[in-house]
Symmetry: C2
Subunit: 144 residues, 2 copies
DNA sequence: CATGTAATTGATACTTACTCTCATTAAATG
DNA sequence: CATTTAATGAGAGTAAGTATCAATTACATG
């Protein structure tokens, strides 16, 4: 059920196929994201690319979300965190201690959501599931 | 499965039992929340209470969240919305058009989450599920 | 490969959703 | 009703983003 985070091959190519240009800032941002297997914040990216404007960071993240290769998730307090997604539809685990993000997918979840539709007044158009965990590493490190 | 939104009796009493004082701003905020069965924003509350400081609105909402009577949820874009919760553990439906919030609870969801624990590397400490819908009213109004 | 043009960028100002500080005010308690 | 401690409001500050706009750059085209 837990998915090994294999990064998809050429993210810039995905954007180009959608008519977007291959620019230096975009390539730089994508390169950094590919190294971050456990989620990231916009600020983090900005810090690693001091020459790049804040707006461009946000614009690019937004673009990548539209392209389906990055998704946004919320920490318990609502703080945003982004994550490169290797697969189409999935959900996230977020460590409440270190913030690391993992992906998982479970067919049962999707079936359940669909079944829920019968009891909900309206049409289900999407869903979001976040599993808050203390990850193995944090458990080991601090003993919780 | 869908829960009629019966508001719990005396919210101020819950806070007092936890050692917090019954103040005019708190009573005013709670009174307004009790009228809002479909979610609200901090700004909305502020607008209805021009005499009350912004900080107090946020502090009170936070307090009510700690007390378990209000919960925060996120719209698709991450924008925050709050909702008075009538029952202990539940999840939310949010209309992507009008933002109205509903509650639901499903034992199957909880069982599923627990089962997922076996496949996740770490300890599950919480979860959040948001069902994005177009609510009946919006479907009728705009035909979607 | 020069070039026109449309997309993209960076700077900057603005917005939203908060949090922090701190002096003033008001609850509760004896 | 005096004390004391919590709570408030004002205001400044922060984090996460969006809007504007002139300058730059990508890229199709000749």
């Amino acid at each position: 059920m837990q998915i090994p985070l294999t990064v998809r091959p050429d993210i810039m190519a995905i954007l180009e196929n959608q008519g977007y240009r291959s620019t230096a800032p975009r390539r730089a941002i994508i390169k950094i994201l590919e190294g971050k297997r456990e989620g990231f914040t916009a600020e983090e990216i900005g810090n690693e690319l001091p020459g790049t404007g804040r707006a461009t960071i946000f614009r690019t993240i937004k673009l990548l979300m539209k392209a389906g290769v990055v998704c946004r998730l919320n920490l318990v307090d609502g703080a945003p965190r982004y994550s490169l997604s290797s697969i189409e539809h999935h959900h996230h685990t977020v460590c409440v201690r270190c913030g690391n993000v993992g992906e998982f997918r479970a067919a049962t979840v999707e079936r359940l959501i669909r079944a829920l539709g019968d009891d909900i007044p309206g049409n289900i158009v999407g869903h979001r599931i976040e599993l808050y965990i203390t990850c193995d590493r944090c458990v080991k490190d601090e003993g919780a």
